[in-house]
Amino acid sequence: MDFELMQKVFPFFLEAAWTTILLSVLTAILGLTCGTLGAAARLSRFRSLRFIGAAYVSVFRGTPALIQLFILYFGGPQIGIQLDAFQAGVIGLGINAGAYMTETIRGAIIAVDSGQREAARTLGLSNWQATYKVILPQAARLMVRPLGVNLNMLIKATALVAAISVIELTYTAQRYIGSTYKPFEMFLLAGILYMIILYATGRAVAWVDRKVQIT
């Protein structure tokens, strides 16, 4: 193994790792937003909104994220959507992650005992008051861990944007293989950096999970 080479390219990989992290954070924010809206739609009392929510989930979970990225980035200009690779990456992955998070958030909300909403409504709270005072605080506790799983998947999915030339970890590894012919070292280095990011994220999720539990 060529440690010297690994050391030499390390700063560039580190920089690429920051791009991966930035990509992940922005994707997670967009994913959570889409997931919250998606869950609200799926739980709406309006049939049309429920339909839209369900369609969103089945379309974006039912096709490869890579195809979604390609359609957005390469197909977009054809229908008047001009995005640079990074923007397309964030938007494509964010909307995709949102479909998974929709199901996570919805699942946590419906897992709260129905007697909770009844008790709140019986006191005279409106449906919305019951939702945000009684249901959501309990659902939030239930959704931290599964959202952590979504987050883990999402971070790994950022590797896909190498295919549309965003200069993140995977793309950087590929680029250095072109000049060094050392795929083992380059991918290993990328893999180690991914592992560090995922490990730190996992710890953060576990910490949040402990913080939100009752007593």
């Binding site: 008790a119 709140a120 006191l123 005279g124 409106s126 309990q138 009752i214």
Partner: protein, 256 residues
């Protein structure tokens, strides 16, 4: 509305879940300060009737009136929501499984609705919580979470939570059925205290002795109809219907 004279007036209540008819033309009136017990075997529709009173399980036919106002009005969604929230504030409900909010302390369980719905300040709400929790003997545990309380204690907090809204009617749906036998009495004591204060109450219960001691009137329900009703001493000692006798006999055997 002028013909309305009873405090609670249930007229020809009918309820179906799909093809299953759970309430079959039930009419029932309760006057202010009265305590009415409802007994009957499991699945006879007691909970459904109770839950229809605050429209938690909306009737498929018939009317529910409370203090001169129809509860189950047909209104456009927004107006209905406004109306029903106002009605429900006047009706306290206690559930078999307590349904305390697990992420709130006893104090927060009690203060949440008055603060949100009546705009009470934190201080006023705290005072109210202390008062109500004292009344049910739970003042010492005011800052405990439900998970730190026994079943009987939880149910007493749940009663305090309902009372904090100053309801004019209290509904109890088998408030002691989920409790260990030794914890039943502390909850019954609280209900007796309310009876002494002339709170209007409708109590679904499996405890005949308790019903006999607090209720002015007891209804026996079976398969979605009120088979028989009367003062407890008549209904329990001298029922006129075979089905009532049969139920009481079986129940007494079961209790032994």
């Amino acid at each position: 509305m002028t013909e309305q004279t009873h405090f609670v007036d249930i007229r020809h209540a009918q309820k179906s879940f799909g093809s299953l008819e759970v309430l079959k033309d039930i009419s029932l009136t309760v006057e202010r300060g009265q305590i009415v017990g409802i007994i009957g075997s499991s699945g006879s529709g007691k909970s459904t009737l109770l839950r229809a009173i605050n429209d938690l399980d909306p009737l498929t036919g018939g009317e529910v009136w409370l203090d001169g106002v129809q509860v189950n009005k047909t209104l456009p969604h927004r107006q209905y929501e406004k109306h029903i929230n106002a009605m429900r504030q006047q009706v306290g409900m206690v559930f078999q499984h307590f349904n305390l909010f697990p992420h709130m302390t006893a104090r927060q369980n009690v203060t949440m609705a008055p603060m949100m719905l009546k705009g009470l300040s934190q201080e006023a709400a705290d005072k109210l919580a202390e008062e109500q929790l004292d009344k049910v003997g739970m003042l010492e545990r005011i800052d405990y979470y439900p998970s730190q309380l026994s079943g009987g204690q939880k149910q007493r907090v749940a009663i305090a939570r309902a009372l904090a809204m100053e309801p004019k009617l209290m509904l109890f749906d088998e408030a002691t059925s989920a409790l260990d036998p030794e914890l039943v009495e502390e909850v019954n004591m609280v209900m007796k205290k309310l009876a002494e204060e002339h709170m209007t109450m409708i109590i679904v219960t499996h405890e005949m002795d308790f019903a006999a001691s607090v209720c002015d009137r007891v209804l026996f329900m079976d398969k979605g109809v009120v088979v028989e009703e009367g003062p407890p001493e008549v209904l329990f000692r001298n029922p006129s219907k075979d089905r009532t006798r049969e139920f009481l006999r079986k129940h007494l055997e079961g209790a032994k």
